[in-house]
Amino acid sequence: MEVGGAGLYVYSDTELDRAEGEAIEALKAKCQQAIPDPDKWLEEELRRNVLLTSVDFMLNWARRSSLWPVVCFPACCAFELIATAASRFDISRFGMEIIRASPRQADLMITAGTLTWKMAPQVRRIYDQMAEPKWVIAMGACAISGGTFAQSYSVVPGYNRIIPVDVYVPGCPPRPEALLYGIKMLRHKISKKSIIVEG
């Protein structure tokens, strides 16, 4: 489609579609194995016997007390996430009520919904744009392993094919209480992290 008078060439949608298709096929070919879960914090905990310095303690407290999620609402679990953020299961008591539209300002991605190969490059891009330190909660059966749709021709079997996941919250969809428990687990995990051996 070329828009504008006098043959002004704005964009060609077939080229854009083809470029998008190539990006998707490239990502699909690259991500045939699941990314292993980040568990460096675990061996570190065993090694140092969970004695953190006071700087670590303050930083971890600050980081876990106001995690800001980024907008990533593909499917049904999104509505349980929104219900968690609504007034009954208030997520604001954990400092998380601001769901940031811009990934640069967020540090948590709660993946609420089925991931398809067409959407995968966009989610990867959002994840890459988030600044360190960042965490990912895989919410729901579709995010953990593809769920009911795992055998489909267009569904990614779990978000951990394209981004490393920290906490898995099962359910279809998980109740808001389950999601809050998952967030509590994540805060527990963050409190164990140390800044000295990062990077």
């Binding site: 489609m1 828009v3 504008g4 002004l8 704005v10 964009y11 949608d13 854009l16 579609d17 907008v71 990533c72 609402f73 593909p74 499917a75 049904c76 999104a78 509505f79 349980e80 929104i82 219900a83 609504a86 007034s87 009954r88 769901i99 539209a101 919904g113 089925t114 398809t116 067409k118 959407m119 966009q122 989610v123 959002i126 009911t148 749709f149 055998q151 489909s152 021709y153 267009s154 569904v155 279809c172 969809p173 109740r175």
Partner: protein
Amino acid sequence: MAIKTEPFVINIGPVHPSTHGVFRMRATLDGEVVIDLELVIGYLHRGIEKLAEGRTYTQNIPFTDRLDYLASMSNNLAYVMAVEKLAGISVPERAEYLRVIMAELQRIASHLIGVGAFLNDCGAFMTPFLYMFREREKILDLFEMVCGQRLTYNYMRIGGVSHDIPEEFLPALDKFVRQMPGFIDEYDQLLAENEILLARAKGVGILPKELAINISASGPVLRGSSVKWDIRKADPYSVYDRFQFDIPIGSVGDCYDRYWVKIQEMRQSVRIIKQAMEQLPSGEVLTEVPHLLHPPVGEVYGHIEAPKGELGFYLVSDNSVAPYRFHVRAPTLINLTALRDMMIGWKVADAIIIFGSIDICLAEVDR
């Protein structure tokens, strides 16, 4: 001296706070005015139609839950009604009334989100949305009492419903039905004559009547364009012919009309639930149906009036346990056909509102 301008293209979505899911629009803008629009969908295409061919008829009921996840009861109802029509199975009276009660409660829940999200897009950031969620939580409590789930219920079965209602359901429903008109009046009082809503939504995104029929629109989009067509009246299914209710229609076909139609439909749903509660008979709730159902060879198209429009299932059977072809007539995909026509000439901010007023659910568009 005229300023030389060039049209440019921006990409709205798929990850966007007000696109109601993963929906992408490539908008060509001249300044701030939309001069062309292209929709890109398919970011949530999970291949349900293909997967359903490998599962039995009863195993497909949870798939239908996940189509329009805000109205799972209606999706279940449409599917089991289509299978019952195909296989010639009759449903007990009590189950029919329970189905109607659940479907109408689901209509209220879905319209609450539709209206709440629309107002969110209009700029009333979270206030009406959270108010609507407060009522929705009451409805979800009722559903949880019946079937244990908050979002994807899997409650209807081929031949009836899966469980009978517990004893605390009817008193709780009675309390809800008595309070709900008061809540709707509360929303009306805040919103109906609100200057900002009127300025932003009246006259914006008009869908003319002939175009609405030509694009096969259905649901509040069609009724907002003053076409009196509701499957519950035109082709009554289940026991809808025993209830008295009105069909609200809009006058112009702009965003305000679609919003107004949804609010009035909520009132009518409360009316239907009251009548259904009074007429509820006793009896069984599920006919005996074989575990592995082998419907006779044939095809069927069964449709209902789901909250978002006419939801239809086209099933082809070849006498085996799984459907040969399972096709969903998705109302929201078809309602989107006119999006380009409705948006051209308006500014980007209006484009978001027009899109919100159609009230789509991406899981149903993409299936």
